[in-house]
Symmetry: C2
Subunit: 276 residues, 2 copies
């Protein structure tokens, strides 16, 4: 693991690190914010999964999360959204290939050799950060934005018992029935739609639910509402009698201005679960 | 004036606007955050002047200022740092020309026709924003980062009576004796060094001081300390018996991670002066 940068930030350290990933068979970069409390021992962790086109950096500089994480003594992990490199498959569309891993393990070519983002996040990067940094493996929560909200919700529901809480900002809620999902799942996972169900938050909610609290925020002026389908997840959660706070925020769109506005709420929400 | 974008943000609106500038003889773009209170009438204003290489956008997305401004009911103005355009003079160096206006009115060619940033900020953009938006002209404060800290301090001391308070993050404090200053003032203002004194915060402090409170934060690990010369301003302010809070923040560098860390303090500081 190589240190790219470390900046003092809200009494802690905002670091950027790169490492050779076996899952993705390329170098991967991630951001990690450690609050001051990490000097004295392991701290709880909030994973932040980013959306389409993002690297590890976007949320790290634009989501205004570190101040609230510092106040709660919580670390933040900002993974990249896909493998990257000139020799790695890509697509001209912004929503397929590099910057658009959709948090799945691709089984189809040309994606399968590198696009193993589910394993990368849930296993390889997990092992790495808990090995190298003072993080408390028993206190983890997860959040994300857009495609990263999809990642956070699906990972939280599949990795049973691992996360105390999950939240999302304008998540893709029903990718098996959306143009943000069907095209990508076909490319990465193939035409067998049964294989897709494990990567659809609304379907997972109907089947499993989540053993903990959920917080979802979406803007009523989000320009991608038709692709996100928050109504599908709201319906599934209510039908499942899932513990959830589901909010449609009047006037807000899909941008980081929206994400940063509600970041305090999300980190406070996770802190309550992590310190319970 | 043209609206480039408006996003809901912390209950208010983060807008970006462009307009034809007479001072700079080109189109100029600026960001303006209006808190929710602006719906009911004019609100106080905090000007934020950015540093080298920045446009109106950097601080708008990375300084995490809107949340604190919303809490205090204060508007934020994010001007650009220079005129821009293919037909406008520039230099290969990042610290001269476009993105590096230094908040002066250039008298030398090739800069003089467009680089009139002092007048642009203090007159033209001022007239525009108070004409077009619900802003209270009697309640203004100013801050900035690096070159923008230099701009904030020099403008505040020269525009007597206009600003209730001034603050700065890692400001260039003594440009007439720094490589961040001498080369640019020579280019923009010519070889007559007497002309430079009105654009040097430490010299203005020794001569005039500021009729209000000042807050300065600089990191002890700032990679540009030798160019910023905070010691010069600290000495001048103490000698002048100026009301000032001058802080060297241990471990922090020159980045927006530093700026965002202390943004709450700066906005709280200005709010106290603006609502006094």
């Amino acid at each position: 693991m190589e240190t790219i940068s470390e900046n003092a930030c809200f009494g802690g350290v905002q670091g950027v690190y790169s490492h050779r990933s076996e899952s993705c068979d390329c170098d991967m970069t991630f951001g990690l914010f450690l609050p001051a409390e990490a000097k004295d021992g392991p701290v709880p962790v909030l994973w932040y999964l980013s959306g389409l086109t993002c690297t590890h950096e976007n949320a790290m500089v634009k989501a205004a999360a570190q101040g609230w994480a510092a106040e709660q003594g919580i670390a933040l992990i900002f993974p990249d959204t896909s493998p990257r490199g000139d020799d790695i498959a890509n697509d001209e569309a912004f929503d397929l290939g590099q910057g658009a891993g959709f948090y799945v393990n691709a089984t189809q070519n040309p994606w399968a050799p590198h696009f193993q983002m589910y394993d990368y996040i849930t296993k390889e990067l997990t092992d790495l950060v808990f090995d190298k940094f003072p993080l408390d493996v028993t206190r983890q929560a997860i959040t994300g934005h857009s495609m990263g909200g999809h990642g956070a919700l699906t990972i939280a529901m599949r990795e049973t018992g691992r996360f105390a809480s999950v939240s999302a900002f304008s998540p893709i809620c029903n990718p098996t029935d959306s143009d943000w999902g069907r095209r990508q799942f076909t490319a990465y996972l193939g035409f067998e739609e049964d294989e897709w169900a494990e990567h659809d938050a609304s379907l997972l909610m109907a089947k499993h639910g989540f053993d903990g609290p959920i917080l979802i925020d979406t803007g009523t002026k989000d320009q991608f509402l038709d692709l996100l389908k928050p109504e599908t997840l709201a319906q599934a959660a209510a039908a499942k009698r899932q513990e959830i706070i589901f909010r449609m925020q009047p006037g807000y769109d899909h941008s980081y201005f929206f994400v940063s506005t509600f970041m305090e709420d999300h980190i406070t929400f996770h802190a309550e679960a992590l310190y319970a």
